[in-house]
Symmetry: C3
Subunit: 350 residues, 3 copies
């Protein structure tokens, strides 16, 4: 499916929006975006930092596209191009133009349940079968989609979009311009128990979750409320689907947490940390600013800022790669050592 | 709990349904299905491709069951038996007989919210507090259970069953005869951002998800919409609980994806691929037809058709097993090499 | 955020509730609980079994807290203290005092949909947009929060709390005093298919899920119904977020299952088993009583009672640690063996 695209823009005009440079005919009119392979006449296509320029240039020659977004330093291309240091930025601007965000506008839907003691801004939108409990506050321009839940005394910041089935539980706070995807849960109880007379006794979880501005949270993410304090997601952080964040975790600003990551209790991520897919962390550790943990890694202790680490236990990524490569030679190594042993026994007998 | 079973069938009649062969008294009347251990008089029990026939035959001798489904080539059994090449097929036929599927029939429930601009077939069923947004199409015989969500311009094929809490988001398409389990999300935004002036800028995700016919999708699965194209789930594919499928992924026909698998963006699974539990894949790779990736494996590059692979990075399963076995000998190997070293030093001194 | 705390208790009185011993002034009045760092005047703070008493004692000296909960054998402290063998138990008692559980009381909310053939105790509570289907039974004091779902013939025990978006599907049984967190799914179909004429054919899943008393289940957990029998969660067991439990699994009493664990079909956990985060199990294995599987481990076969195991395949934890430590030396080992080989060749030439 290529979605319908009904607006038109010249390459020059798009270059102005994206603050880029045109090479070739800037007057070409663009009617949409598609891959080089799928593009029809009038459509714009896209060359990211391709490792293999040659193949792409060949592909472009047979493309019906009208123009291409390309890296600043790409070689000559057969189509008019918009050159940018970060071509993805041009793509964003083109997509924003061709697919202007359609914010759902339910006003206050008659099939929503909103407590009379909740405070919903007149410009906010609450969809069918959404529930807004007493004491909750929904700020200007926020959208609570159908079947979403905003608990008692929770607060949703302005222009934040809460998708269907999201649960923002009692007392939790979501900032401005956030997006929370379907069926995510914010504010479930932390997993805190203590063994007492042979039974696991629940430690009441009386903190909340605070999500700062410009955060995006994926579908089916779960973020537990703090035991006594706030679990915190810093401004600008982006979280993919099915990430689990335990109680008391503190996540910094502009972090990127890829799908199916699990972050254990009281762990701290400083700003601009990237956790790749299926990473886990133990509890009570600190991951330094700008660190990247490669996919499937397990953070077993504090990590210095700016690290690039992987494996379990965590190691510098280059070391982990060496070990993984060495592993394939281990069965032969065992044989070899046995041979050496025999040779040596033979020598000794000499 | 053994569920109530109120119908009766003869072993002969069941053999006819399952296209199998009766050994022993085909007139025995069957009133239900249970394990050999739990079965009461009149009940049918089940012998799959047991590795240990002897133990099972012993178990059958003390079972109160009236008959048994068994592999074609099983030895003589103490009970009348229905012989089948694939005994599970007989089990399916027996279960379908004893537990005829009860499709929920809500008609158009008065507590559902259905947009007046949605198109719901007269034979479809929409449960309490379900939401069907404008432009959505619900085909004949489809069931939208209570509290499920069908977004704008989404389409649900005939006889498809959408369980409570499922979100089929705007523009997504689900084929015929599909089953989507509770709280699954179809069409959440792909995880696409680009770093611009120190902040992660959202790349609009304007594609959709297309699910072909006869697909089953587990509880709390998340399938992201494509960035520009459709994320595709091929006909007949079965997906277990809590699987994450990223944007632009193309899954072929009759694949089997076990629980907690994560598939990264733009990855392609050809037909009949099996990913066992907790497998991960990197993005932009192709897994060849008929390949099986064993549990916890990480697909790090393209995989040839018909492979049986495991580990991280991915290797032939037999090699991975050898390596894992070798690993247990590594600590001793280190000692051994140290000894050899000393011996050799000794030799040199001689 | 430190939540509002408006009640007051003396240290003596708290010691009576927690069956502990006061050291210092027991008449000090306490108005809330906070960490040593955050505590204001009148607040109670908390010293668990800190490994580093010295640092904590130093921290206490600068704390504004009025008293501290501490282990029985902690050294002298600068504040009045409540001494307990298990200080967490004192924390539980303090939190229960300062934050008395506020059970939502919706009675039977007018925006709930309850089938006229369901049986809801007069003291139970059903929130807005909750759905209770025909034949369901909700016992005394149970709370079905807004947007939760209780399917046909399902049963919810007394004083159990079902959070928003939870789906208790047809025929499933939940015991007394349970807590099920938001968007969990109980009773989705097991993942059972058989290959028939090149297609995956669904094996009907006709069992249910039985959850005994005092169980807590995390957000977005999925528990599949048994194929023919009940999937069972034993009394007192606590399950963290995003755990997947397949059909026919039998979990014992007082187990602790940490986040993102996956348990394959028909596996048995005996009582008091702990599975740490992201553990997986294969199907049809038995994990003995009191066993702990460390984080990310994969249970590949039966495990004896009382084991402490980790890795993939599973090994005694101490062995796994040795292997992981050895791994870092593998690249050097390969070099070393090559050197030895050369030396030996040299020797042979001598």
């Amino acid at each position: 499916m290529i979605p319908k695209q009904s607006r038109t823009i010249s390459l020059h005009e798009l270059a102005r929006l994206a603050e880029g440079r045109v090479v070739g005919d800037g007057n070409v009119l663009l009617t949409g975006v598609a891959s080089a392979h799928d593009a029809g006449p009038g459509q714009l296509t896209f060359l990211s930092g391709a490792k293999n320029y040659a193949a792409y240039i060949e592909l472009l020659k047979s493309s019906k596209a009208a123009a291409v977004i390309a890296p600043e330093d790409a070689p000559d291309l057969s189509l008019p191009s918009l050159r940018l240091k970060n071509p993805y930025y041009g793509l964003v601007k083109a997509l924003e133009f061709f697919f202007p965000a359609e914010k759902p506008d339910y006003s206050l839907h008659p099939a929503a349940f909103v407590s009379e003691n909740a405070e919903v801004d007149a410009s906010a939108s609450v969809g069918p079968n959404a529930v807004v409990e007493e004491g909750a506050v929904i700020d200007a321009g926020a959208v609570i989609c159908g079947q979403a839940y905003v608990g008692r005394n929770a607060r949703i910041g302005s222009n934040t979009l809460i998708h269907p089935g999201v649960r923002i539980l009692a007392g939790c706070v979501v900032g401005k311009n956030c997006i929370i995807h379907a069926n995510a849960v914010v504010g479930s109880d932390g997993f805190g128990f203590t063994l007492h007379q042979g039974r696991q006794l629940k430690v009441p979880q009386v903190g909340n979750v605070v999500i700062e501005d410009d955060v995006e949270i994926g579908a089916c993410v779960t973020i537990d409320r703090g035991a006594l304090v706030s679990t915190l997601i810093g401004a600008g952080t982006k979280i993919d689907n099915m990430v689990h964040i335990a109680h008391n975790v503190q996540i910094g600003r502009n972090c990127v947490i890829v799908a199916q990551v699990g972050i254990s209790g009281s762990t701290i991520l400083e700003d601009e940390v990237t956790l790749a897919g299926q990473v886990g962390t133990v509890g009570h550790v600190r991951v330094g600013k700008g660190t990247t943990v490669a996919a499937r890694g397990v953070v077993t202790s504090d990590v210095a800022p700016g690290s690039f680490v992987s494996g379990f236990p965590l190691k510098p990524h280059s070391e982990e790669r060496k070990i993984l490569a060495s592993l394939r030679r281990l069965p032969d190594l065992i044989k070899k050592v046995r041979e050496l042993e025999k040779m040596l026994e033979g020598n000794d007998k000499k």
